[in-house]
Assembly symmetry: C2
Homo-oligomer: 307 residues x 2
């Protein structure tokens, strides 16, 4: 998943880091900050306290969906590999304030944002920040009790190699937790062909960038192939309809559709679609967030053990 | 969802009734009985006790997924509209042995099979069987306390009209429960284009027959438009990977892939594909049920109240 949070990283747009929509700013193109998206000016600013609270509720709902069951004992050594701008880091620190957390990312800019976010949301929390490539972390073998990897593998050319490299720094008996989305699980009503095409473009661009927007369904074979044991994968679904306008707005529009909109320039620039067709698809997709619409998206959460 | 149970009904093949795979026989073309499907002879017979138990476990897993939360008080008047061959009827009678159950279906042949199934699985249960069209049931207004409708709306040309007709026989304050699948939620790994095409053919044929294989996502707007209130829809996902070979065999292969295979003749006959392309797609799809594969399918369960 991409994000509604600015993400000045060095990734290509098709391989930007995903985060949940817990801040109202627009998703930026990778390497840029919060570009205006003509089709959705209302996303940029102008939030009332009620709207902010509603979005907070939505972010809480998504965080609960993703983090439920993840709580590390006090004093345990936890590595968050690929922490990005820290969206999940703050949740890890909330559920486990006394863990010894190391957060690593390849982007110094993202790490700076993550530090600021943690300072704002979890003041007093102690985090060891590490700037580096998760394929080549400098930590000794068995340095950690637990690994947490969220919305990272989908951006990597060889997620199996990344998992193997991460397993090295996990002690025997330690746990790994991996969370990924799968854009193929995006079901929207009304269901239109133009909308489906822009979702497919998202997957296509991510693949062209060396990633895999359909990675969620692959977690079990990836983790077992990397040598983890007792792997359990569970689908976790966000579903929004007219009974949950907060989720329709916060998740369907501001998280999923915003992620789709963020690839507009790349898709048009690559000649994969026209601006008109793209905008028509996004307009169709937005009907899923209206009162008569529905939206479904499945995340996959995997937990395994290092033998 | 279609079924691994013979279904001699008068429906077209593209609109056959879905049931879960709780019997080992092959799905029949509508109006025929258990035709041999060349590509899957092993499905027809030859079950060992261990295999039967494994399939039973799988059927239990699916029944639990679908029926969890549905339990009617003793003495309550329940209408199962579109009971088909009784696959869900036996579960309703198991969770509520003292309900006053009426089971209705438009197919006399299906009803005969449903009676036999109930006699075998819930001996002593009392069911009022009704042969008739759920759009024009002869019961007086307010005849029932609860409605149960499972895998029925997807086959109807006007599901909203059917829901409105059913609401008439439900007393004010009574509940409605509707369960539907959504073939768009079928995620399979490995993900191949040929496999995706045969899944798309299933949806296409169901649409050509006047149904909607993507109906699950529409439940909320359908029920609210039909006048039900307090509608709550929850996605319920079957997910099978190498850690659950029973589900991979029982659900992925014997339920979902069997349903796809059952439209082979229609798809080829209608000129929508060739036999070779269809078989290639099914072969690709079967890899999702092998040890390195995964499969995901979401059912939608809606509960509402008649105001």
């Amino acid at each position: 998943m991409t994000t509604s949070t600015p993400q000045p990283t060095t990734r290509t747009a098709a391989a930007r880091r995903p985060e949940q929509a817990d801040r109202p700013e627009r998703t930026g193109q990778a390497g840029r900050t919060a570009p205006a998206v003509a089709a959705a000016p209302a996303y940029v600013h102008g939030y009332s306290p009620a709207e902010a609270r509603r979005l907070g509720d939505q972010a809480d709902a998504l965080a609960e969906l993703l983090h439920l069951g993840t709580a590390y004992p006090p004093g345990s050594r936890v590595l968050e590999a690929g922490c990005g701008v820290g969206a999940q880091t703050v949740h890890l620190l909330t559920s486990g304030p006394d863990v010894l957390l190391t957060a690593a990312d390849i982007s110094a800019d993202s790490l700076a944002l993550a530090r600021a976010r943690v300072a704002a949301h979890a003041p007093g929390a102690r985090v060891d920040w590490h700037h580096g490539d998760l394929h080549r972390l400098p930590f000794p073998d068995d340095s950690f009790d637990h690994l947490f990897v969220c919305f990272v593998l989908e951006h990597l050319a060889d997620p199996a190699a990344a998992l193997a490299a991460l397993r090295r720094v996990l002690r025997p008996g330690g746990s790994v937790t991996v969370i990924e989305g799968d854009h193929g699980s995006a079901l929207f009503h009304p269901h239109g062909e133009a909308a489906q095409r822009v979702v497919d473009l998202l997957v296509r661009l991510q693949a062209d960038g060396g990633g895999d927007g359909l990675l969620g369904r692959r977690l079990y074979p990836l983790l077992t192939a990397a040598g983890f044991r007792d792997v359990v994968v569970g689908p976790r679904t966000m579903y929004a309809d007219g009974s949950r306008p907060d989720l329709a707005e916060g998740f369907t529009r501001r998280t999923f559709i915003a992620m789709v909109e963020a690839v507009r320039e790349d898709a048009v620039g690559a000649g994969l679609t026209t601006a008109e067709a793209f905008d028509r698809g996004v307009a169709e997709l937005r009907r899923a967030a209206e009162p008569g619409g529905t939206f479904h998206y499945t995340f996959f959460k995997a937990v395994g053990v290092n033998p």
